[in-house]
Amino acid sequence: MLPNEIYNNLKTEFGDAIIEYNDAQPTDPFILISTGMLFDICHTLRDNEEFLFDYLMSLSGMDLGENVGVVYHLYSMKYKHKLVLKVVAPKTDPKVPSVEMIWRSADWHEREAYDLMGVIFEGHHNMIRILCPYDWEGFPLRKDYKVPEIYRGMKVS
């Protein structure tokens, strides 16, 4: 099932929660959705008979200048088709609903996105850092991140 057909189905079902569909050529076609209905959209994507996206390949945080994005790469075992979802949240309050109860693989990916990019996933049962030490300040992968001078007495750079 091609991404634009999925887009039309979702558009009919969720209306304006689906913001836009972009398939400029070299990029994989992706669907931009708003953060409000993210949980329900993902729930239908997983359980609806035409989609059956039961395999969340990867979830990555993005730094888009003044706001923060999260990209979901979905894959369906049965129909062998793929989908890319994007969600954008302002950097002032980077809150995105967590989908760890839909695909368990999102659990650690969301913690990593929080750890490196600073995206806070509401509803996540254990929202702490996963890669950096627990008392590391700042979110390293942001473009405006300044590397600290000293960390626990050791010179960093």
Partner: protein
């Protein structure tokens, strides 16, 4: 909050007859620097909390200030046991973005190199798994055979472990004249050792009693945790990117996908994951033989090198079947020669997230075996 504060908070709440053991960063059987915080009731594991990040080498931050070809050595260091298989999805992604058609001979060299690297990786996986169960001889047998493969790679690319051999549009060096019969010779040796280890370790009564029926991972839980590779196929699911999403020239070879069938224990236990790796080695040998037979000998491997590597503005997600599972790269390019973002989806990072679920209720010694059967590499977990 700091490590200590977090633990004190938890420590005060848990009932006190359970002991909290720390299988810490420095431990012979954590396959690297992984810390498992294990809550043990007597000798039965009741809860496992993995702590990672001890080898977080800021790969994604490094990639943002390196040009595209400079990133390839860093990609070798993600999963440093199977470097050839790491480079392949990255290079394929860039070739797809800049739609470069790679000559036939390069495709065959890439398949052979990747399959040889898959054998080397499975040799280490089964060797360390045997060592976790206490068998030291297979470790020595497998490492002796791995040396033969490393010598081939050394002649091919100049390095033993981290090759930097794949390039965008080809490979860095052509094959040396005696490449073909050296590969065939290695395959003969690998098959002989595999047969030996089959009855020395795999069908050994003690090993079966130690590894069967522990660490049972049902197929639907593995699917929800997005596991892949031998961990997923051990639970009986026939999912392999070389067949489901055939990239490069894998459709020209006939090989089958070994799947865990619960031969000695339950389907999806540690023994199944291990036997899948052993059979996969045999399949890789078959692929290499067919690839060597069909390989065109003439053709310049550096024919399709682009003048300058500047992929158009856009993003792409490409994945390939590595020995541990599907390793994917999400590359966002802004038209310049440096990527805006490269995210590596590490298979070990995803496969490891299953540990807290599948190690509840087993003896403490079995936990070490369950960790060994998942076959993780910490460079890929922490990136």
């Amino acid at each position: 909050m700091s490590d200590k504060k977090r633990l004190d908070l938890e420590y005060s709440t848990h009932d006190s007859d359970k002991m909290r053991i720390n299988v810490g960063p420095q431990h012979p059987s954590t396959h690297g620097v992984l810390r498992l915080e294990v809550e043990v009731d007597g000798e039965i594991v009741s809860e496992v909390i993995p702590h990672m990040g001890y080898l977080h080498r800021s790969f994604e931050k490094v990639c943002e200030s390196m040009t595209y070809p400079q990133i390839i050595p860093y990609i070798d260091r993600i999963d440093y046991i199977s470097a050839m298989n790491n480079e392949w999805p990255y290079v394929m992604a860039l070739e797809k973005m800049m739609d470069i058609k790679v000559p036939e001979k390069v495709e065959y060299i890439r398949v052979i190199a990747a399959e040889l690297n898959r054998i080397a990786n499975h040799q280490i996986a089964v060797a360390t798994f045997g060592m976790d169960a206490g068998a030291f001889t297979p470790f020595l047998y497998f490492f002796r055979d791995r040396e033969y493969i490393l010598w081939i790679f050394e002649k091919l690319s100049g390095a033993r472990l981290l090759y930097n051999y794949f390039r965008v549009g080809g490979v860095s060096g052509d094959i040396y004249p005696t490449f073909k019969d050296e590969c065939l010779d290695v395959i003969k040796k690998v098959r002989k050792t595999n047969a030996e280890v089959m009855d020395l370790l795999i069908y050994n009564r003690i090993f079966i009693q130690r590894t069967a029926k522990i660490g049972i991972l049902p197929a639907d839980v593995a699917l929800s945790y997005a596991c892949s590779g031998p961990v997923f196929r051990g639970s009986g699911v026939k999912y392999d990117l070389r067949k489901d999403e055939t990239y490069s020239i894998y459709d020209r070879f006939d090989f089958d996908i070994p799947v865990g069938k619960g031969e000695v224990g339950v389907k999806g236990d540690c023994w199944d994951r291990n036997i899948v790796r052993m059979h996969e080695m045999e399949q890789s040998c078959k692929i290499i033989e067919q690839a060597l037979a069909q390989m065109p000998m003439e053709g310049d491997v550096t024919a399709a090198f682009p003048k300058k590597i500047r992929p158009p503005k856009g993003e792409i997600y490409m994945r390939a079947e590595g020995p541990k599972g599907d390793l994917g790269f999400y590359i966002v390019s802004n038209g310049s020669d440096k990527p805006e973002r490269v995210k590596a989806r590490g298979t070990s990072f995803v496969n490891l997230s299953v540990i807290p679920e599948i190690s509840k209720g087993y003896m403490f010694a079995d936990l070490i075996l369950i960790l060994g059967s998942i076959d993780i590499v910490l460079g890929e977990v922490d990136r």
